[in-house]
């Protein structure tokens, strides 16, 4: 009971700090509980400052991981005995494919939060996830195509994975298009969030229907990895690259959300103060 009472007091202070631009900073808050931190972070000025502080570190970590992963993948890892050096595309292709799904899930979760609790920050994050996800999906499609040409002799096959990825790309484009078709951006964000949720129900259905369709039309079923397990010398660069793309995503989403918040809150006092302060 005592603990609850204390938490309530701290929560009260956190609420006040969330409203006042001249707060003592999140460092004091970090001694408190995680929910209070999230609540504190939900306020646009706090989030703006926090994201600005964290983002360079995330990007630096992402670059370090990318350098290590690329060195391991391009230099240290031996050529594949079947695919030669062409397999080295997987070090960007596979992490991008993972990211395209991961970001869609992140977008749908943020969209759900935006729809249920109407949190402005969640709307911004959901909508800013879409271009990053579309970028990773585009990378997956293009690098997959560049890999497919030497391996299977064709730029494109209607395999299950490729078709699902293409459908995912259209889902992203639909979300971006719907959001931009609205005059009122908050309403657009809510509508596009609902579309993202419809899409996440649809995605497994698409995948299984395409798999079924592929078994119907035999011929273009190509398994990228075969059935052999991947060698450790090739696996660790892949995992490091996956870590790098995750870190990059978090850095990018924080930057995009900052910009999104700035334009959404452009009439508010904290934005005016920020803009006039940085001009001097």
């Amino acid at each position: 009971m005592l603990r609850n009472g204390q938490a309530g007091v701290v929560g009260e202070r956190a609420w006040k700090w969330g409203r006042v631009p001249e707060h003592p900073g999140f460092r004091n808050m970090s001694r408190s509980y995680v929910p209070h931190f999230i609540h504190w972070l939900g306020s646009p000025p706090n989030f703006y400052r926090f994201a600005g502080n964290v983002r360079p570190w995330l990007m630096a970590a992402a670059l370090v991981c990318a350098v290590i992963g690329l060195y391991g993948g391009l230099v240290l890892a031996p050529p594949d005995y079947q695919q030669g050096d062409a397999y080295r595309i997987i070090f960007i292709h596979v992490p991008s494919a993972w990211m395209s799904l991961f970001i869609y899930a992140a977008m749908a979760i943020a969209g759900l939060v935006a729809l249920v609790w109407r949190v402005k920050l969640a709307e911004v994050i959901a909508m800013e996830c879409a271009p990053i996800g579309a970028a990773f999906t585009l990378i997956t499609l293009l690098t997959g195509s560049l890999w497919g040409k030497p391996m299977w002799g064709t730029w494109w096959t209607w395999g299950a994975r490729l078709t699902s990825e293409l459908v995912l790309f259209f889902l992203y484009l639909g979300v971006i298009g719907l959001y931009n078709a609205f005059e009122d951006r908050r309403r657009g964000a809510r509508a596009a969030s609902l579309l993202a949720l419809v899409g996440i129900v649809n995605l497994p259905i698409v995948h299984y229907s395409v798999v079924w369709w592929n078994t119907l039309h035999q011929g273009s079923t190509v398994n990228l990895f075969g059935h052999s397990s991947i060698a450790p010398s090739m696996l660790w660069p892949l995992l490091v690259m996956a870590l790098a793309t995750h870190l990059y995503f978090f850095a990018s989403i924080l930057g995009r959300a900052r910009t999104g918040l700035l334009s959404l809150e452009s009439g508010k006092q904290w934005v005016r103060q920020l803009v006039t302060d940085t001009s001097r």
Binding site: V75, D85, A86, R88, H93, I139, T143, G255, S263, V271
Partner: protein, 64 residues
Amino acid sequence: MTQFFAMGGYAVYVWPAYAVFFIVLAWDWFAPALRRRRLTRQLRGRIARERTRSARAARAEVTT
């Protein structure tokens, strides 16, 4: 070194793939920065216009 860049004969496929990866992500990284710069310039202009307007209104009040 040339052996590294030749990629066992697959250089035509491997390097464009890496180029796509870095170009698309560079676009993703710099597009919001450009958007933010444009936005702050617009906001600064709007604030400056509002200030001159209110100053002019104050001056008009003094003269009447």
